[in-house]
């Protein structure tokens, strides 16, 4: 009886101590995953493993009705494995560590917080499990001329690893790493694709394929991210010259006739001036001087008519058109150069994404 009283007293003291430390007592009616994990952590830290293990097992049981994130589940498996490793159940501990690693290959035990024995069991679990992982890309912007984007990938143990970044809309991608890897690895990407060009805007995936060197197993994973270009506004190039914007490079047949008519018209004008417009009362009209002008004009018209009939091309218009085309080409070249300079200043804006679609 005294022994029972001592045990009950100890239980009360223990409960009061928990309350004093701000750790709420387990309450099955108002429990939640986060609260229960917090309690389990506290019990584990005080090495009250007999109470911590059931709590963790309860969280991981199929009957647990509260929602649970992947991180919480991995945390529960890891602490359960760590607890069991402490009490000497190495095989069970390894099983839970493997469950944690299978769900998150980035799971690790900090040697400063866990005992060498726990770490040893965890390492065994890593050797018995094969999984590859890639950390979700963080939102950032970087200048591909001077900076690089870093991808973090992991394997649970030694493996042949292939890491590729590619657009979800097109293949091939750019292979960033291919070789042996064990554990964490940082892989840098300069924003260029296999053709040496800057990755165009769109959705991309980092695909990680690994093959274990210890087990005959393979694993793969992928993370998605969006690429957006941030650059100064580009200038529009000049449009292609339309036919209506160019001079005719050949004269129509009517042009020759038009020249003849103009020449004869000017000739007639000279005679009209000397005849109809002159004062007839001022004596005999001299026809030599207007005839000189009329002959010159008529001759110009006839020569122009004959010449144009045999030379329909308009070399001055051809030259003028060529000059316009050349000016347009030079202008567009200059615009293209300015645009290229602006494109060279492109900043890549990275945003995490989920899946191949928006």
């Amino acid at each position: 009886m005294r022994k029972l009283i001592v045990v009950l007293t100890l239980c009360v003291i223990s409960s009061l101590a928990l309350v004093a430390q701000g750790t709420p007592l387990p309450d099955s009616t108002s429990d939640s995953t986060a609260q229960l994990l917090q309690q389990a952590h506290a019990l584990y830290e005080r090495l009250d493993l007999e109470r911590a293990v059931p709590l963790l097992e309860r969280v991981l049981s199929p009957g647990w009705s509260f929602g649970m994130t992947k991180a919480q589940r991995v945390d529960a498996y890891a602490y359960l494995g760590a607890s069991l490793a402490l009490v000497g159940s190495a095989d069970s501990a390894a099983r839970y560590f493997r469950a944690a690693l299978e769900r998150d290959p980035f799971t690790d035990l900090d040697p400063r917080r866990f005992t060498p024995g726990q770490v040893a069991v965890f390492r065994t679990a890593r050797r018995q499990t094969f999984a590859v992982g890639a950390r979700q890309v963080s939102a950032l912007r970087f200048d591909p001329r001077t900076e690089q984007l870093s991808f973090t990938v992991v394997t649970t143990h030694g493996a042949t690893l292939r890491v590729e970044v590619r657009s979800v809309d097109a293949t091939p991608g750019q292979v960033l790493f291919q070789g042996e890897s064990d554990g964490l690895r940082e892989i840098a990407w300069n924003g260029l694709m296999a053709d040496g060009r800057l990755a165009p805007p769109g959705r991309y995936e980092v695909r990680v394929d690994g093959r274990s060197r210890l087990l005959s197993r393979s694993d793969s994973t992928r993370v998605y991210f969006d690429v957006r270009h941030e650059l100064p506004a580009l200038e529009d190039t000049l449009h292609e010259l339309l036919l209506s914007e160019l001079r005719p490079e050949r004269y129509p047949p009517s042009a020759a006739t038009g020249d003849l008519v103009k020449g004869l018209g000017i000739a007639a004008g000279a005679f009209v001036i000397s005849g109809a417009l002159a004062d007839g009362d001022l004596g005999s009209r001299s026809s030599a001087l207007p005839a000189t002008v009329a002959a010159t004009a008529a001759l110009s018209g006839v020569v122009a008519f004959v010449w144009r009939r045999h030379h329909a091309e308009a070399p001055e218009n051809v030259l003028a058109n060529a000059r316009r085309r050349q000016e347009r080409r030079l202008t567009n070249d200059a615009i293209q150069r300015r645009n290229n300079a602006r494109i060279a200043q492109t900043i890549l804006v990275i945003a995490p994404a989920s899946g191949v679609g928006p």
Binding site: G263, G269, S274, L282, V293, A304
Partner: protein, 222 residues
């Protein structure tokens, strides 16, 4: 003795020659032109027609702004010799200023004033005229060949001893040829005046100056 302003042709010749000198503003085109006119003068002041003819020559300087606005300054002088009984020889000197404004690609509106003096052994008769007119350009397909038709009314005519004319017109027709900076033109021009009898002139006076005008010019494109 020629009218005093006939000697102004000297400085204008220098100005025409100076067309080769750099212009102050980049948009201006300066052209210097030498003009030779073979003219026939007819006047009937109530005593029968007095015919005379001769050659007038002189320089012209034109400054164009972007081919839109042109300012012309010219002088010419020469002598008319009597061609019939009753006529007398006369010296002629003229100076003029004209402004051309391109209204359309083929049409230029012109306004100007001319001071002309006829000097005979009997008298000196100065004329001052103000003209308003237009010049049509008929370009041929061959670059630089252009037909020209010009017409003007002279609303302001001031002549010593005469009233205002009831008819005063100036017309011309001809060709202009341009190649590079050089240009040449040949026109037939006519000025016709009719003065009705007035308090100072009891008879009608008719006067006409017509002839062939040949010019050769050189422009400086800046």
């Amino acid at each position: 003795m020629r009218p005093a302003f006939a000697h102004a042709s000297g400085p204008l010749v220098l100005l025409a020659l100076a067309a080769g000198a750099p212009t102050a503003a980049g948009q201006w085109t300066v052209q210097g032109t030498g003009v030779l006119s073979v003219m026939r003068h007819r006047v009937d002041a109530g005593y029968g027609v007095e015919p005379s003819s001769g050659v007038l020559a002189g320089p012209e300087v034109a400054a164009s702004l972007r081919d839109r606005l042109t300012v012309r300054l010219w002088t010419r002088s020469g002598s008319f010799h009597a061609d019939g009984p009753g006529a007398i020889d006369r010296d002629v000197a003229e100076a003029g200023l004209q402004v051309d404004v391109a209204a359309l690609r083929w049409l230029t509106v012109q306004a100007g004033t001319t001071r002309r003096t006829y000097l005979t052994v009997l008298a000196r008769q100065p004329w001052t005229t103000v003209a308003l007119g237009a010049e049509a350009h008929l370009p041929f397909t061959e670059t630089g060949v252009t037909g020209i038709v010009r017409g003007a009314i002279l609303p302001g005519v001031s002549v010593n001893g005469l009233g205002h004319p009831d008819l005063a017109i100036a017309v011309a027709s001809g060709m202009e040829y341009r190649r590079g900076r050089a240009s040449a033109a040949v026109l037939y021009s006519l000025e016709r005046y009719r003065f009705a009898p007035s308090a100072t002139a009891t008879v009608e006076r008719r006067e006409q100056l017509a002839g062939l005008v040949v010019s050769v010019g050189w422009s400086l494109k800046r």
